[in-house]
């Protein structure tokens, strides 16, 4: 069961490679596989809810020697999200991706990306995590570079260079950790590190890994690669990147710094909180400065990462559950924004605020599809973003982190500003005279574009109106990760 989230995309990717020139088949396979992934994710979630943390050993070798796959609530929630996002994006790209990209293996690459993401969420082995990171990374490299205009190339080189630095740091960190502890299994590491004095190299390795993951997660001051590259590739690609890639970084930060390293090894909360605050603030300022939608949204992605990190910095069950909820919310809401932007760009041929306008009258649905997720991202109740923020703010006030809370609230105002301002530009402002004629979209294409967008926007809305079921799950997930013994027992059998 635990292997299915890896096997499905891998098998699909292989099938896609074998059916290299048969695009229709590749497309069909892609959609089926993502749907299957979603279903498997849901089954996994149900199992974990019933049985607690579950684990499986690759090759039937006992932990900590063989590679362990582990699913707790957090990772199974994220697998579900991956399946959902994969499905939405795959359907969307049926209409959005041009034939040339498809003929260069777009769909198999997407599956490999999903493979890497699922692997990172499920693995219980630090080196295996590195491998999945690389799988994810190389797939994202290629997806990013498919196409090949100048902007895209420039974005790709920055993305590649900075992410490779992260990989190098990560690899060094893992090697050092093995040298110091003699193990790679995360649960085993947790136990070994508990019994070791937290002096010497361990804090340094913790800092090293923190930096490596922070680069992946696009945290200040490591986020440069994200705004530098996210505006260039096709919108479907960027949607899945923004929804999942940086979240993997955050997931791993949460995992590693709750499970492996006891909290005190991190140089300290203030540092994480400062990074979180600056990420929020500078991301939002970047978004304010951008006159082009995709770039604005790229900065918006950065800004929201700050909130996710804030939960880790506060380190309470409430804060972490807020972070987890926020992570799931932001995947849906932000993706809906990106996808709508893609539709707008397809209609008008532009995503620059100055060149857009006047879509409100003819496309009220499109207007709502932008406004609802935008307000959700800004944290306006009763949309999904509000609850995550509420939990974070409550947690922040409980911990007496008033400055952090003030920044979080202030950034919400900024977010509200730039997103509604953009909305006004796109929909209310009359179209400039220079604007090109609107493109016609045939109905089947329209449906392929709008169905996933609508689904995600509705998800955000429903999640806002009925937050309890998911929030309860997130809260249990947070409690689970704050109490690693269940994880460790699930992997190693008994607590030594």
């Amino acid at each position: 069961m635990l292997f299915l989230p890896l096997l499905i995309p891998l098998a699909t990717a292989i099938a896609g490679l074998l059916a290299w020139n048969r695009r229709k088949l590749q497309r069909l396979l892609g959609v089926c596989s993502s749907a299957a992934l979603l279903i498997v994710g849901l089954m996994l979630l149900a199992t974990v809810q019933q049985q607690g943390v579950i684990s499986a050993q690759a090759g039937n070798w006992p932990a900590p020697f063989g590679i362990t796959l582990v699913a707790d609530l957090l990772s199974s929630l994220l697998i579900v999200a991956t399946g959902l996002m994969g499905l939405c994006v795959t359907v969307y790209s049926l209409a959005d991706t041009d034939t040339r990209q498809e003929s260069l293996g777009y769909h198999p690459l997407l599956q490999v990306l999903l493979l890497g993401i699922c692997g990172s969420f499920l693995t219980g082995d630090l080196f295996n995590l590195y491998v999945w990171f690389e799988v994810m990374l190389i797939a994202s490299f290629v997806l990013l570079a498919l196409g090949g205009q100048r902007e895209q190339m420039e974005g790709a080189i920055k993305y590649v260079a900075l992410n490779l630095i992260a990989s190098a740091l990560l690899l060094a960190g893992i090697g050092l950790l093995y040298g110091v502890t003699g193990t790679l299994n995360m649960a085993h590491l947790a136990i070994r590190l508990q019994s070791m004095p937290h002096t010497g190299t361990i804090p340094v390795i913790a800092a090293l890994l923190f930096c490596a993951f922070s680069i992946k997660a696009a945290v200040f001051p490591f986020y440069f690669w994200l705004p530098a590259s996210y505006h260039t590739p096709p919108i479907a690609v960027i949607t899945i990147f923004s929804a999942l890639l940086s979240k993997v970084g955050i997931y791993v930060l949460i995992r590693v710094f709750t499970l492996i390293f006891p909290q005190e090894t991190l140089a300290g909360q203030p540092l994480i909180l400062a990074a979180a605050g600056l990420t929020m603030l500078l991301g939002a300022l970047g978004a304010v400065a951008q006159p082009e939608l995709r770039r604005m949204l790229a900065f918006c992605v950065v800004s929201q990462i700050g909130y996710l990190l804030m939960g880790l910095g506060l380190f309470t069950a409430l804060a972490l559950s807020g972070s987890i909820f926020f992570m799931l919310h932001i995947m849906a809401a932000k993706s809906a924004l990106f996808l709508t932007t893609g539709v707008v760009a397809r209609l008008t041929g532009s995503s620059s605020l100055a060149e857009l306008g006047g879509l409100y009258r003819r496309y009220p649905l499109l207007a709502a599809l932008f406004l609802v997720p935008a307000l959700s991202v800004a944290g306006i109740p009763p949309l999904s973003g509000f609850w995550g923020k509420l939990a974070l703010i409550q947690a922040g006030l409980q911990s007496g982190q008033y400055l952090m809370v003030a920044v979080a609230l202030g950034v919400s105002v900024l977010t509200l500003y730039y997103l509604t301002n953009a909305w006004i530009h796109i929909y209310w402002k009359p179209a400039p005279e220079t604007a090109a004629k609107l493109q016609y979209l045939p109905p089947h294409r329209r449906h392929q574009l709008l169905a996933p967008t609508l689904l995600l926007a509705l998800f955000s809305l429903v999640l806002g109106l009925l937050p309890e079921p998911l929030f309860r799950l997130c809260h249990s997930a947070a409690e689970q990760i704050l109490n690693p013994s269940s994880y460790i027992t699930a992997v190693l059998g008994t607590l030594p």
Binding site: A168, A172, Q290
Partner: protein, 131 residues
């Protein structure tokens, strides 16, 4: 020998880093290659060195005769080398394509990400935030 190798590792990191931050992206790929070697050597060294004894089990035994080199770092490095090679090959071709599309290997030419930003400041001047 480990302390010496530590210096070698440091040297590789320094050289790799220096090459990475050159303006020419062609040099970057050399930097990447050096960093990869540095990381591998680091894993190797930190996993402790054992002279000459590979982790192989002789034909007439069921256990290797100790002391023997630690096989785990070796396996890790092997994986890392291969992954590094794949990524490096891709990066190499990417750099070539970047050079072809941009027409230069100078990083300072690759700043289209801020296109339109610099002009925006002046465009806003008179009218405030035009909505």
């Amino acid at each position: 020998m480990e302390p010496v190798l530590a210096v070698v590792i440091g040297g590789l990191y320094a050289a790799g880093m220096y090459l990475m931050v050159r303006r020419s992206i062609v040099k970057m790929i050399f930097g990447l290659a050096l960093l990869g070697n540095a990381a591998n050597l680091l894993i190797f060294t930190v996993g402790r060195l054992t002279r000459g004894r590979p982790p192989h089990i002789p034909l007439d035994a069921t256990l290797p005769s100790l002391p023997v080199a630690d096989p785990v770092p070796q396996a890790l490095i092997l994986t890392a080398i291969v992954i590094g090679f794949g990524v490096q090959a891709f990066a190499l071709v990417l750099i070539k394509r970047v050079y072809q599309t941009v027409g230069s290997d100078d990083q300072d030419v690759m700043v289209t990400e801020n296109q339109g930003l610099a002009t925006r400041g002046t465009g806003r001047e008179g009218q405030g935030d035009e909505v």
